[in-house]
Assembly symmetry: C2
Homo-oligomer: 365 residues x 2
């Protein structure tokens, strides 16, 4: 189902997934007078603290889904791994944004990279790997090191392994569970950047400025805006083409590598995420409209908000026990502290983030 | 009860009152990883949409209050008319901020104005009015026009009447229900301003810049920051003295009149509100820390946040059918739109507000 008219205040947005992204989406909906109903299997979901109506059920529980759908006007999600059957069940009854095509394209690295290549957008060289002999052939083509990734369900470095000289292809494939995979040629990048952008029902496009990202242990640690790259226009152009080709509605993040070849910068798209994104958290204080409000606006059929940046920004994730420093962070007048209400601190778990604005010079975006 | 140590993330703040102020307080708590439990008799309370745990009960329902108190670590409120017995019941079991003294002082106009006068802070001349003959004597003293106000439970112009020449004192007193009242000398003010400020457990004080307010039909229509007055330092000084004398913890709003006498500006305090305040809504986008987060910080025993202003600001209330223009407002890239999720539009009802920042020059506050 699709809808054309904007949702009126008081309407309810169903959100699949109850993590910090769902939590911040629900708060953005509330700011606009919209309600949110969060569906998540985990009874300890952080998003449950900020909405009145919740469903705790498995994503394949069709009776629970049917009740959820009866109470909402439109559905979105905070994670790209919404099961295909769940997405189809939802989309048959309510508008789903971003739609099943966006999910199908981004849930599978092979489909995603093929989609990008067909759009003329540079990616790392990649090859389909179903067997150890596929892998051996791909290693021969791409050399060492190269990166073996499951086609599905990888995030924060899970489901991937670096292939180095001497590693046995069968062992490597076994280490990611023997799942359908791709091998990617290693990209010696200069920096990692992302574009967080939105597209509305009418095709309008709005991007935030290019974000520079630093990862630690495969987890985003820090985002800095603006990114130090002269390729912002090219990055926006690629992102716009991706959104247009998908007929996309909502916020998307496009992760890119900046590589330097013969003294020239070049962009390679690493991954696209059909949702609000950790690298866009700075927009809560650093941009006129937050990525969360922007996504809700798009999903609700409202016009997109302004994306202008309000200063130079640094966003730092609080990962695991980083968040134990909440009292010091709360005492820092320059730190905008966000904690996600997670009851259990685990290594690698995103517990919160801190945003700092270093100037208040307005800037286009 | 009082507490000294800051509440750790995951703690629960109980909020008495479920209107838009409670709603925005609850969202501010969530940003900091704190939970909120909202207690309100109205099952349609706007704040219920943004918290998981709610109590729908009358403020004098002690069984419901006891259950509520068992689930929270500290209690605050969004309105000054918390019944005295409720406040006492709460304060016997949990820390209540602002405390019963702040409530007792601000719930009764006679006590409030006497408190201010005793602090050496200018107010309109006032007299206690219990009978028609009290009123006649006070009118003789203050002349026409003067303003008759109930001592308790007045807001947005309710419970007050302008006394003009020829009006019968008995009729005037009957028009406000014959309740205990005060008569105030009419103040021919040049402008209305307010100071929104906070004090923490340790006595630290932080004020936002002085706000200029325009009312329509006794309801705040527009706030502009900074106010056009040279008396900011005097306004902060008065506010600081009020908070200190009360040993106050939390955000308070002090409404003042700027009067001009013999070419000199002078400040007269009109009213103090022991809570976040409509004239402080601009701080959500216009200041480093919002008044809602500031109040939560104080109540939770956290350090106060920075109050610096991020630009010139105008906040406009959406009253009654003003909010029907939500679609146009949503399409205005300069408008930060807030809707409160109220299901029924009534004349005079605050449905939302819009904040506009006109420059992004940082400024101390």
């Amino acid at each position: 189902m699709t809808h054309e008219a904007p949702l009126a205040p008081g309407a309810t947005i169903g959100i699949l997934g109850g993590g910090q992204l769902g939590r911040m989406l629900a708060m953005a909906a509330a700011k606009l007078g919209l309600r949110a109903h969060v569906f998540c299997p985990d009874p300890e979901s952080p998003a449950f603290d900020v909405v009145r109506v919740t469903t705790v059920a498995a994503y394949d529980d069709e009776a629970a889904l049917a009740r959820f759908l009866a109470s909402v006007d439109v559905v979105t999600y905070e994670f790209e791994n919404v099961p295909e059957t769940t997405a189809a069940f939802v989309a048959a009854q309510r508008p789903l944004y971003p739609d099943v095509r966006a999910l199908a394209t981004t849930q599978d690295r092979l489909i995603e990279k093929t989609f990008l290549r067909d759009l003329g957008i540079a990616t790392a060289d990649f090859a389909q790997v179903d067997t150890a002999s596929d892998l051996a052939a791909a290693i021969t083509a791409f050399g060492y090191p190269s990166v073996l990734k499951t086609r599905r369900l990888g995030y924060d470095g899970r489901g991937q392994v670096m292939i180095r000289e001497g590693m046995d292809p069968g062992t490597a494939l076994a280490s990611i569970g023997g799942q359908p995979a791709i091998l990617e040629r290693f990209v010696p990048f200069e920096r990692e950047v992302s574009v967080v952008a939105a597209r509305d029902h009418a095709g309008a496009f709005a991007a935030y400025e290019v974000i520079e990202n630093e990862h630690e242990n495969h987890i985003l640690k820090r985002s800095i805006v603006p990114a130090a790259t002269g390729l912002a226009e090219a990055a926006f152009d690629m992102t716009g083409r991706i959104l247009d080709r998908l007929g996309y509605v909502g916020v998307m993040a496009v992760e890119m590598f900046v590589v330097r070849e013969d003294g020239q910068e070049r962009l390679i798209v690493n991954e696209i995420a059909p949702r609000v994104h950790n690298s866009g958290h700075w927009t809560l204080e650093g941009a006129v409209t937050s990525q969360f409000e922007q996504h809700i606006r798009a999903v609700a059929g409202w016009p997109l908000g302004a994306t202008a940046r309000l200063g130079d920004v640094e966003m730092t994730n609080l990962i695991g026990h980083d968040a134990d420093a909440w009292a010091q962070l709360a005492a820092d007048p320059a730190a905008h502290l966000h904690l996600y209400g997670k009851t259990e601190t685990r290594p690698g778990r995103k517990m919160g983030h801190v945003t700092r604005l270093f100037s208040a010079q307005p800037s286009g975006g």
